[in-house]
Amino acid sequence: MRRKALPLVVVYAFVTVSLGAQTGQLNLGRSPSPDEIRERDITVLPDGTGLPVGKGGASDGEIIYRDKCANCHGVNGEGNRPVGQALVGGIGTLGSPNPVKTIGSYWPYATSVWDYIHRAMPYNEPGSLSADETYAVTAYLLFRNGIIQRNAALTQENLAKVHMPNRDGFVPDSRPDVGKTAKTSQSPK
C-alpha cells in the first residue's frame, strides 16, 4: 500500500519542504498520501461527514444484534448489568429521581451510535462489522427505541438527519456552581 503511494509521497515531501522554507518549519515527519489518510481516518461527525457509503435496516440489524450484542446488552436491549448497559428505553425519565440513560433517552446524535459501534463494538471483536452491518445494528437500536420505523433503512445520507429525543438535552458546563461562597479563615492571596 505504502510502496504504491511512493510517487505521491515524494511530491508531498517536496511541497512540505518548500512550505517549510517559507514558514520556518522544522521539516520533521513525513507527508502521508491521501490514500493512507483515508485508510486511517474513521472520524464520523454529527453532520454525517466521514460516514462511509452503506445501507442497513432494522430487520437485518436484529439478526446481527441477537448474534453479537444481546449477550451483554440483553435480548431486547434492556441491559445485562454489570456486563452491558441498557440501550433501549428510559425516554422521558431524565428529570425523574430514577433516570435511565440509554441511546434512546440520552444520546443526542445518531452518528455517535454508528461511530461507537464501528469503533469499539462488539466488545470482543471491535471493528469486525462492515459499514452495512453497522447501519443495520444502528437502525435496529433506533427502531427499538421508537425513533425510526422498522422498515426504514439508514444510509450515509439520512443517518445524521435522524432526530434523537434528547438532542437538546445538553447545556454548557456552568461550573463553578458552588465553592465560591464558603467562608475561609483567611482570604486567599
Binding site: G29, S31, I42, P46, P82, F170, P176, V178
Partner: protein, 400 residues
C-alpha cells in the same frame, strides 16, 4: 565443582560466619553487617517488604476493562510511582511496538504529517509535573458508598513528570487552517477511544508524551505515546495516541456525547465539563489507619486544582467548625499535586479530620451537601467534596 555449587558453598560459609558473628544477640545491626547483600541487577524493584498496590474497587466484568486505584495513603511527596499510577481502560492494554507506531496529524491543516517516535523525540520537548484525575474519581462519595481509605475515596488520581512535545508544536508544524476549531485525539486501543479537544486548549498546555517519571510511558499509561491534557478529566488524555484529526466541530464520540456528561436534577446535562475542580484529601491520619495513642502527629495530604494554582489548604479537626492553614510543600506547581502538612497534637479525644483546597481563582472546595444541593445525585462525575475522617478515641480511623 560447578559455578553454582561453589557459589552455594560460599554463601553457606558466609551465612555460618554471619551467624557466629551475630552470636546470641542477633540484633538488626549484626545481621545487616554479617550477610552479603543481593547482587547487582539491571532493573530495580522495590523492597519485598513494601506492600502498596493498586486495587480494583468495582467488579471487573472483563479483564481489560475497568479501573485500579492508586494507594494514596502509602505514597510520599507528590510523584506517583509509574507502577502505581491508576488505571482506567475501556478495552484492555494494547501491546505496541514503538518501531511501528506512528502518529497521523490531518484534517484542517496545511500539511498532513506522520511522525514516528524517533522524529517526535527530535522535536523540542518539555518535562512537566501534572496530575491526571479520572472524572469518575470519588463518584461513590456522592452516591452514598463512601471510601473507607484514601485509595478507595480518591485513588483515580496520580501525578507524574511527563516528557514530550507540546501539541502546539505539532499543530504549528502541520499548520492550522482558519476553520480549525477542535482536535479529535484517537488511541490505538481496541476501542479506539476518541475525544475532541477545543483548539484553544490544544494550543495551550497539552503534551504529546513519551516519557513518564524519567522512563518510557508505561503500557497501562499509553506506551509508547499518550496525550496529557493538564487539569482536565483523565478521559481526554488519550493513551496509545495514534491520530490527531483537526476538525471544525466536535466529533461527538460516545464519551463526549453521553458518557462523560453530568446529568442534573432538571433532566438537562452539562456537556464538555472538562475541568477537574479544586480538591484535596487528608492521607494521614486517614481511614483504615490506627493511631498509637495521643501525642504528636503530622496531618498530611494531597491537594490539586485543574483550574488554577493551589494557593492554600485548610485543615479542620472538628468537622469544619474551625479551619487552620496547612503548610504547602514547595514547589507548588500548577495542575500538579501539592503536598500539605500541619503539625498536630492529638489529645486522645474523638476528632473529625478533613481538608479543603483553595485555588487562585478564589474557589473553595465545597462540602458534599453543597454539591448535592446544586447537582443532585446523578452527576457522578467531577465530584470534589470535602472528605471527613472520624478518629475514634481508641485511635481507629473510619469514614465520617
Amino acid at each position: 565443582m560447578t559455578g553454582s555449587q561453589s557459589r552455594r558453598r560460599f554463601l553457606g560459609a558466609t551465612a555460618a560466619l554471619g551467624a557466629s558473628l551475630a552470636g546470641a544477640a542477633r540484633d538488626i545491626w549484626g545481621q545487616a553487617a554479617a550477610q552479603l547483600g543481593a547482587p547487582l541487577r539491571p532493573y530495580g524493584d522495590r523492597s519485598p517488604f513494601e506492600r502498596a498496590v493498586r486495587k480494583s474497587l468495582r467488579t471487573v466484568t472483563f479483564p481489560g476493562t475497568g479501573s485500579t486505584e492508586t494507594p494514596l495513603q502509602d505514597l510520599y511527596g507528590t510523584i506517583t510511582p509509574s507502577s502505581l499510577h491508576f488505571e482506567r481502560h475501556h478495552a484492555g492494554v494494547p501491546s505496541i511496538d514503538p518501531e511501528k507506531h506512528e502518529l497521523l496529524i490531518h484534517g484542517l491543516v496545511e500539511r498532513p504529517l506522520v511522525f514516528n517516535l524517533e522524529e517526535l523525540k527530535r522535536l523540542r520537548f518539555v518535562s512537566r509535573i501534572q496530575f491526571i484525575e479520572c472524572s469518575g474519581n470519588s463518584a461513590a462519595e456522592l452516591t452514598g458508598q463512601p471510601g473507607i481509605n484514601p485509595q478507595q475515596t480518591a485513588g483515580l488520581l496520580s501525578c507524574s513528570e511527563w516528557t514530550g512535545v507540546l501539541l502546539s508544536t505539532l499543530l504549528r508544524e502541520a499548520g492550522l487552517k482558519p476553520k480549525a476549531r477542535w482536535v479529535l485525539a484517537e488511541g490505538a486501543d481496541a476501542s479506539r477511544l476518541g475525544r475532541s479537544i477545543p483548539i484553544a486548549k490544544a494550543l495551550d498546555d497539552v503534551i504529546v508524551a513519551y516519557g513518564q517519571n524519567g522512563e518510557a510511558v508505561r503500557p497501562e499509561q499509553g506506551y509508547p505515546l499518550r496525550l496529557v491534557v493538564p487539569g482536565w478529566e483523565g478521559n481526554v488524555s488519550i493513551k496509545w495516541l495514534r491520530r490527531l484529526h483537526v476538525i471544525d466541530q466536535p466529533a461527538m464520540t460516545k464519551d463526549e456525547a453521553a458518557s462523560y456528561t453530568d446529568l442534573l436534577p432538571n433532566g438537562k446535562a452539562w456537556k464538555f465539563s472538562f475541568v477537574m475542580e479544586a480538591k484535596s484529601i487528608v492521607t494521614s491520619p486517614a481511614g483504615g489507619q490506627q493511631l498509637n495513642g495521643p501525642g504528636f502527629y503530622e496531618i498530611s495530604g494531597l491537594a490539586w486544582s485543574g483550574r488554577a494554582r493551589v494557593v492554600a489548604v485548610e485543615v479542620s479537626t472538628d468537622n469544619g467548625k474551625k479551619w487552620q492553614r496547612a503548610e504547602l510543600q514547595e514547589p507548588v506547581l500548577e495542575k500538579s499535586l501539592v503536598r500539605f502538612r500541619l503539625p498536630w497534637n492529638w489529645d486522645g479525644k474523638e476528632a473529625v479530620i478533613g481538608s479543603r483546597c483553595i485555588d487562585q481563582t478564589g474557589y473553595v472546595q465545597p462540602l458534599r451537601e453543597q454539591l448535592v444541593a446544586s447537582r443532585g445525585t446523578q452527576a457522578v462525575d467531577h465530584y470534589n467534596g470535602i472528605k471527613w475522617w472520624r478518629l475514634q478515641n481508641d485511635g481507629a480511623l473510619t469514614h465520617a
